[in-house]
Symmetry: C2
Subunit: 422 residues, 2 copies
């Protein structure tokens, strides 16, 4: 962590120096170079390959905790591009593109996993420039964009000062709870050796994620005696406590700013239509850009559950047994943010400006949560110019060439500026 402390010091020193124009200068110098122009041209000529890669990756299912088939395929795609990928203990794919100087590496990552369970039809449908499939954007487009960046750097024979570690992470979604990126930063060979972090995730041409939405997730399991639906009618039913928990949760008013949200997401339980269930469960997600608001929301939720249980125990007979509720934490993602004046952000802003665009900073829950919570400069940048309905079966992206190649140039510029070029 020594290395990280010295990075933090250097950021602090920047404050005192008249270096405000430096990131824009770096970007101008990079964009003007022949090497960059060749690399950028490769993004343009490689557009069809990028679309093919998105389709190929999307069509390899990668349900939570079952990313290995896609991981192997992704490693192979990196190998075909001259890198020497490996798969770490968590299942992340790592491939280093060496730098000219020793020292911390810059990570460029996208996540391998989707939210969709095994058996989901992941066939990509195409209508004009629109691709439709579960996971097509989130984050198959991120992985394909990462590959396009490797291709472009190779085409431009770009030599960066810091090495660039390309990573396909596991466990970004849902119950994965960021286990891939946690492994990267807190265990394994690159622990303490990462100077900056990019995640390619999310869509649009006007935003980046520089703040980490914190989240708290629980599986609530309601138990009761259960029994025959006719013979035991009148006894407490854990389903009613679950129902009250959902309806009460959805009465909570949360601030729009700092954005704070909740979701009653997954549910299950019961054995047979003619049996009062003995056990039902509910998965709940709570998030906020503010650690305080998240704590406030969590507190309200944690009060709702016992209230719902008590109400059901009061409403019906408990002679066969009472309702109880167990709370299992299934996700805890730290909040955090990257300093608004950090080089990585100013490089990104300058890169957007060099393409005639302005970019807003936002907060979200992404792989960047982990480096942000550790004080390591990190941002999550867009991986598609236009798309929507991530996490829904009707997810789509628009692969139109002009805006997407523009976005890829912005990514290339930002990454090269952060890693430094000779």
């Amino acid at each position: 962590m020594k290395r990280l402390s010295s990075l933090a010091v250097s950021v602090a020193l920047c404050f005192a120096m008249p270096a405000v124009a430096a990131p824009a200068d770096s970007v101008s110098r990079i964009v003007a170079s022949q090497s960059y122009k060749t690399a950028a041209a490769a993004l343009d000529s490689g557009h069809d390959q990028w679309v093919k890669d998105i389709i190929a990756i999307t069509q390899i299912p990668a349900p939570p905790f079952k990313e290995s088939v896609r991981a192997k395929a992704f490693a192979e795609m990196l190998r075909e591009r001259g890198l020497d990928p490996s798969i770490d203990e968590a299942g992340n794919v790592l491939a280093l593109r060496k730098g000219t100087q020793p020292g911390p590496v810059v990570v460029v990552s996208a996540h391998l996993d989707t939210v969709f369970p095994e058996g989901t039809d992941v066939t990509v449908k195409r209508e004009g420039t629109k691709l439709m499939a579960p996971g097509v954007g989130d984050d198959s487009a991120g992985l394909a964009t990462l590959l396009a960046l490797v291709d472009s750097m190779n085409a431009g024979k770009v030599q960066t000062k810091s090495g660039i570690l390309f990573v396909g992470t596991v466990g970004e979604e849902g119950r994965g709870d960021l286990r891939g990126v946690r492994q990267l930063f807190t265990k394994g060979e690159y622990k303490g050796k990462i100077g900056a972090f990019f995640s390619l995730d999310g869509g649009g041409l006007d935003g980046m994620t520089s703040g980490a939405t914190g989240s708290k997730r629980y599986r609530v399991t309601f138990k009761g005696p259960g029994g025959h639906s006719y013979g035991a009618f009148g006894i407490v039913n854990p389903m009613v406590a679950l129902g009250h928990t959902v309806t009460d949760l959805y009465k909570i008013r949360v601030p729009a700013d700092p954005k704070t949200t909740y979701s009653a997401s997954v549910v299950g339980g019961g054995t047979s239509v003619n049996a009062i269930p003995a056990e039902v469960w509910l998965d709940v997600d709570m998030r906020s850009a503010s650690a305080d608001e998240l704590a406030k929301l969590e507190k309200q939720f944690l009060a709702i559950v016992p209230n719902a249980v008590a109400a059901e125990n009061a409403a019906r007979s408990t002679t066969a047994g009472k309702i109880s509720a167990g709370l299992e934490p299934i996700g805890d993602r730290p909040a955090g943010h990257t300093d608004p004046n950090a080089d990585i952000i100013r490089f990104a802003e300058a890169a957007y400006r060099s393409e005639g665009l302005t970019v807003k900073q936002g907060t979200s829950s992404t792989d960047s949560n982990i480096p942000m919570s550790l004080g390591i400069p990190a941002i999550t940048m867009s991986r598609i110019a236009d798309g929507d309905r991530a996490h829904a079966p009707d997810e789509w992206i628009d692969v139109s060439k002009t805006p997407n190649v523009k976005l890829q140039r912005i990514l290339l510029t930002t990454i090269l500026a952060t890693a430094g070029v000779r």
Copy 2:
């Protein structure tokens, strides 16, 4: 159905005849016979075998729609007792013990299926005379009691006038929706050839089921646009409509007499903790001894669902799509009853009296629903003297010898009186 009509006529004729004492006389005559005494003694000496059979049957899983392994084993147990069992198109096990006269048969049945899903631990635990396991009573004890009755008839060399068709039925529980007994009465080789029907199901030494509880069952599927739990927060969530449906259902007041019940029993849906679900579903059971009360309850329930949907569509944004609900009927069991003066009931009452007990008539939802709805004399009689918690993981029965052999004598007497003995 001609045969059934003539049976109905003969029941009607009984009304006009001074035959009130006849059932008691029949029972006294049977109980006094040497053949019966030998048969009854076999119930006593066969007690240990009965307990062994309960354990063996219980430990063969028979989840809904997956009764075939238990069916084959049960057929083998009947074959060992000198019968020639077959398995019909629905999966029922049928074994005829021939009568001395042609004409309709008397069915003695128990059901093969349990409510418990695949993977449930069905190992029987024993503490003294108490056996504990999912399905140990319902209806493993019924199947074992059926076998004990075959053994006792064989031991007493009992010859009945009507043939006795021993049946292990499939599909009595839950979504099985009585498909086994429906097959028996409405298709297959015994259609129109059954004069009376016994189901061995339920527990206790004081009741029989002479009325059929009607039931209506639905799977309600709530759909919505779904989306990212953080990015799409504010849109409608089908889980909330489900929650409101459950809590509103449980506000309905139903009469204790005629007994009317409901249960929100099984639930599922959602894809990931960080996704607003696109689909969740709920299985609901409604029952009543009164067709009118059942219709009233169903009407209320069918009004709750669209109200819950409308409330959610009003409470949150529908820009990405609205909540809708689909209702799939998954069970429809007819109500009905056996005439309180039918011979089958009066034989059962006399059989209880011959053991110094009185028996009350009740209503329930059992395999007897089908013959009762068709006007064929049918009752469901107890298969265990004491037990509880059917349909729950902690189901138990007490296999104490004295009360259970007494119950088995009552069953034997009632069945022999109904089938007639030479």
